[in-house]
């Protein structure tokens, strides 16, 4: 086959893409994220969510009597605006022709690492900064100081609700039980019970040993009295370690979550990672681009509970 520039570009892109995307056939870049977040895809600039206040309890209907009207009412809106991330790198004509191809082969690998790092970094920040900041993708009609984890989430029906301990605590059987019990106490905006069982303990790698002891020991793991591990029996908690990202920021924070379909912490793919290649006419350099667009944030705090590290 004659190597002409057009073929060259396509061949090069195909090769680089193969190296870049190949490993994702085994494990997607969002493999941890998809276990933790309520995942969505979307096809517009931003997505707006509205939560409702909820109905009161049903009203008794007497024989022949009319039904009582009720209005669910608006509660909170949240808008998540997708942000694009990308970069390009130049492969000079000389580099393409160079014997030392090892450098170019590293190139898509590094880009893949970069994509994985980027999405995991921004997604993990929803949790790691969830005690003191709002995700940058997010606007809402909630108070600007109402963070994902708070002891005073305002309820539309009056009062407040908490999804973190009033004093942060290490991960122990006691604190984990308290978190599990907090799920039983969660209510909707009207104050009616909102119960979804906790399913997942999200932890930094430093707490992995502790999590396994708490969730998988047959006996109560914190003393030598050989009592049963009631936590294991009563709950069906799995643990998820977010390698590097959580532990490198806060090594002793931990989070308890309902199943992704039951909570409203969102990760929205606007465009999954894709590449393109172009040739610079004046230099013959190849430009290899990678691009992705997504947003992440929380629409509602119900179904998640967390405590900050010391």
């Amino acid at each position: 086959m004659t190597i002409i520039r057009a073929n060259n570009t396509n061949l090069m892109k195909a090769g680089l893409d193969e190296v870049l995307f190949g490993p994702w056939e085994q494990s997607q870049p969002d493999s941890v994220i998809s276990r933790v977040f309520n995942m969505e895809t979307h096809d517009s600039q931003f997505k707006k969510y509205m939560t409702i206040k909820g109905y009161p309890m049903l009203v008794q209907k007497d024989e022949g009597g009319a039904y009582t009207a009720a209005d669910a009412g608006e509660a909170w809106w949240t808008q998540l605006e997708h942000i694009a991330y990308g970069l390009y790198s130049t492969i000079t004509h000389e580099a393409q022709a160079d014997e030392r191809y090892g450098v170019i082969r590293q190139f898509p690998n590094s880009m893949r690492e970069s994509v994985e790092a980027t999405i995991n970094y921004y997604a993990s920040r929803v949790f790691s900064t969830g005690f003191s900041a709002l995700p940058s993708y997010q606007t809402s009609n909630r108070s600007t100081t109402e963070y994902l984890f708070s002891t005073s989430h305002a309820l539309k029906g009056g009062g407040t609700q908490s999804n973190r301990p009033s004093t942060d605590a290490d991960l122990t059987a006691t604190s984990l039980w308290a978190a599990v019990n907090a799920f039983y106490a969660m209510t909707n905006e009207s104050g009616l019970p909102w119960y979804k069982p906790p399913k997942m303990l999200l932890i930094p790698h430093q707490l992995q040993q502790k999590a396994i002891e708490l969730l998988q020991s047959e006996k109560y793991p914190e003393n030598a009295e050989n009592a049963i591990n009631a936590l294991r029996i009563a709950t069906n908690l799995d643990y998820v370690v977010w390698p590097y990202w959580l532990g490198s920021v806060d090594a002793d924070a931990w989070y308890l979550l309902a199943a992704p379909s039951d909570h409203q912490v969102k990760f929205i793919w606007r465009e999954r990672p894709r590449t393109k290649m172009a040739t610079e006419d004046l230099t013959d350099n190849l430009l290899y681009f990678i691009y992705s667009r997504f947003s992440t944030g929380w629409v509602d705090y119900k179904g998640v509970y967390g405590t900050s590290g010391a």
């Binding site: 009161p56 007497d62 190139f107 790092a117 301990p165 004093t167 106490a185 010391a310």
Partner: protein, 175 residues
């Protein structure tokens, strides 16, 4: 039916008082100059937090616990020596005295398996800033990684089509 229906009055959303769970980790008497944290009660964890500028809250310390234990011990001894104390109560006091050992932390203040530790608000602020900095460093690292490779590619020397061949050979190997 009409009489019973009074029990089923309509509840407006605002009338439903949210259930407030027991605030298990509430800690009374916090000093506003300090940040508090329930640490797991094991020596390694306590030492780790001490290295990071935390201290056991004096109200939850072993010294404070010892004072309370001493006061209880004195009370029991005094009761035992009081002629008005019944024989049963004397026996009970003796048994309690025998059981009373030293307490590592004040168990009347601490939650079992936890110790209340605290650090200055300033130290806490610095720790939180450090987390933000660490987080930012990760972001910078991602950029630097790509930038270095970009430079390396540009500095690559001259050569032939072997580069392409190597690339596709490597892809074949991966398959």
């Amino acid at each position: 039916m009409g009489k019973d229906s009074k029990e089923f009055e309509r509840l407006e959303p605002g009338e439903c008082e949210p259930v407030q769970p027991e605030d298990f980790f509430r800690y009374e008497g916090k000093d506003p100059r300090f940040h508090y944290h329930w640490a797991e009660n094991n020596p390694r964890r306590i030492q780790q937090l001490k290295r990071e500028g935390y201290e056991v809250d004096p109200a939850a310390s072993s010294a404070e616990a010892a004072k309370k234990v001493d006061a209880q011990r004195e009370f029991l001894k005094k009761s035992m020596n009081d002629p008005a104390t019944s024989k049963e109560n004397v026996a009970m006091a003796r048994e309690i005295l025998e059981r009373m050992g030293s307490a590592p932390v004040d168990t009347t203040v601490n939650i079992p398996h936890h110790v209340m530790m605290r650090t200055s608000i300033e130290n806490r602020r610095q720790r939180m800033e450090s987390r933000i900095t660490k987080s930012k460093k990760m972001e910078d690292m991602i950029q630097a990684n790509i930038s270095d490779l970009d430079k390396a590619l540009k500095k690559s020397g001259k050569g032939g089509m072997k580069a392409f061949k190597d690339l596709f050979d490597s892809v074949k190997e991966q398959r």
